[in-house]
Symmetry: C2
Subunit: 379 residues, 2 copies
């Protein structure tokens, strides 16, 4: 009997409250039973997004939310500025290309973040850029782009929308949609929100809705205007993923009981303990600046394959973390501290890393990372 631990950056563990609620008999999405369920989810998401705007609920992975955020606000030929600092930045590039947007990229080495001044410079140079596309937390490299500072730049350009993929950042980082002026904010169910995969969320500012009026990319499944009309009636445009939305309300209740500031602080505390413990093992973070509070990316020590560390964690100790993606494959491994995570999840995974590295012949003093984590987590 090998007990299993899930510390991947999505899907993340789902609390029993949600698992059991989702195991209840299915109800009909157009019936009076379901309408208040969707109404509660709608309000809860506005709370989580810190917004008075609509937050759409889509039956899709987070990527569906990203696609909808391109094809609902832009037209072929529109100029787009993509911050490409990792695997998910590259996804913005691919989506914008798929819909024929005219693209320029600010490319950053993996592990680094964009400077808001770089975005300002690009927008000043060409104020006809209609959209700036960025990740909040770039899951592939474990960095957090400074969304507050980026928003304070973009909001000065009335013809430009700021579109933020917050799929792995939501709940892990404070993202004040209205106060900062984020135009489009995308989340997913299987990350900080502690649900199985299957829902995407998109918060949309009034400024973005005006862009939707003239956007000409083809759309049908992701049709935000129709979703907005449905949402006003506590419905979704197509069949609602009823079980996931029932689970969503359970998770929102847990977060509301904790409080939003406390949830952010918990993620900050867990992330910090993880990073310091990892450094105490003489390992290097892959994120060279502004590390994400959702996931820690760690360079594999010289001579060790990151995928082997991932594999040993899983096979020897039942811990499912993550390897590297794209060009980082083999060079890193990643540990999430995201969603339904607390003190002893960090202790477990740091201990697991120590034991795996030692078993792979890497010099590690057992307990040296754990003791640092304990000390920080006692604070």
């Amino acid at each position: 009997m090998l007990k299993r631990y899930l510390v991947a950056p999505g899907p993340t563990p789902v609390p029993s409250e949600a698992l059991l609620a989702m195991a209840m008999p299915v109800i009909h999405h157009r019936s009076p039973d379901f309408l208040p369920v969707l109404g509660a989810a709608k309000k809860g998401l506005q709370w989580l997004y810190q917004t008075k705007n609509d937050v759409l609920i889509l039956c899709a992975t987070g990527t569906g939310g990203m696609v909808g955020s391109v094809n609902n606000f832009f037209s072929p030929g529109d100029k787009a500025l993509v911050i490409n600092a990792g695997n998910f930045g590259e996804r913005w590039t691919k989506i914008c290309n798929a819909y024929g947007l005219s693209l320029q990229e600010i490319k950053k080495d993996w592990g680094y973040t964009v400077r808001p001044e770089e975005i300002e410079q690009a927008l000043r140079h060409d104020p006809s850029i209609k959209g700036v596309f960025v990740q909040a937390s770039e899951t592939s490299t474990g960095v957090y782009h400074d969304i507050e500072a980026i928003a304070s730049v973009v909001k000065n350009f009335s013809g430009t929308l700021l579109v933020v993929d917050a799929i792995s950042a939501l709940v892990a980082h404070d993202l004040k949609m209205d106060a900062w002026g984020i135009d489009v904010l995308i989340g997913g169910s299987q990350k900080g929100l502690m649900l199985p995969p299957g829902l995407a969320f998109v918060g949309i500012s009034e400024k973005a809705w005006t862009f939707a009026e003239s956007a000409k990319c083809p759309r049908f499944y992701f049709n935000f205007k129709k979703e907005r009309e449905s949402l006003a009636k506590n419905q979704t445009n197509f069949t609602s993923p009823v079980t996931l939305i029932i689970g969503l309300n359970e998770c929102l209740k847990l977060l509301q009981r904790e409080g939003l500031e406390n949830a952010f602080e918990r993620h900050r505390r867990l992330a910090n303990a993880t990073r310091e413990a990892i450094k105490a093992l003489n390992l290097e973070l892959f994120s060279k600046e502004s590390p994400s509070n959702a996931v820690t990316a760690i360079e594999s020590p010289a001579g060790l394959d990151g995928q082997e560390i991932y594999k040993n964690l899983r096979e020897k100790y039942g811990i499912t973390a993550a390897g590297g993606q794209g060009r980082a494959k083999g060079k890193i491994f990643r540990i999430a501290h995201l969603g339904y995570a607390d003190t002893f999840d960090i202790i477990t995974v740091v201990a697991g890393v120590e034991m795996v590295l030692k078993s792979m012949g890497h010099p590690v003093k057992l307990g040296s990372g754990v003791s640092v984590a304990e000390e920080l987590l006692m604070e």
Copy 2:
């Protein structure tokens, strides 16, 4: 305590086997734990689809499968022939329009089906039509289009694909994808497959894959070539909806234990008993020919509002059936016998209809429909 009964044409009740399996701790979609799960689902769907072709699994409602079946095989300006005989036929029209296809429709009065000769005539008149789009079961009117006969027409036109929305027909009707020559066959999770909403399935013939090579509609979230490459590795292109796929395997196991022919026969038997019981109450079927084995659409008796019948069933007796959609709203109500349904689901709903009609002042001899259903269900 009002016990609840779900007899809507999707979502349909989910067996406990699936509900409990989906309540297990979440696993990671790229981990070795999940790959055999997806492998089993892949094989099970091929069995259900009666095909050797790939059956893609998408994180979307059935409509997402319909959209992908337009934008992966066709280009703007391509000629399309839509069979529009109800609300979901109209959906084909809207999707083809959204992607700029050049459209002609065969429109049928609601409650009627297309004649295969009409399709043959249209294709002979213009063999450059690249796609014929039809429903198997048109959920809004309760009719079944003769897919076998339609396929035998379309397969003579080498430049034309037959695209079948079988979202509500799958499991309720025998659909021999390979033997009949269906090119694209779309299913959804929350109907005959007895799962919550959230998955779409698309079976794709080799002929259709050749169309995909030159198709120019923009696509990213629904990218069937990428899904096919992922499926070969027992993965999905984006994050897999792991819980739903785990549930899918449970439901496929139940169906495999029953046997495909027995499942079709069960649906035929339940549908037939429902229709005969309804006729015994002197009610008229809305489907004037070829009634669907998934759902029975019933005209509200003169002077009664179909929505009121739906409402009374729900509020007085806890039975969630369905009202009418679009132009049929108020004129009909609908009863599904789809998925996890058996003898006493039919007895329950027929009894409920008798009691509701009587309470609404309509002349009904209580038990007169039930007795007919009993007799037919004893056979």
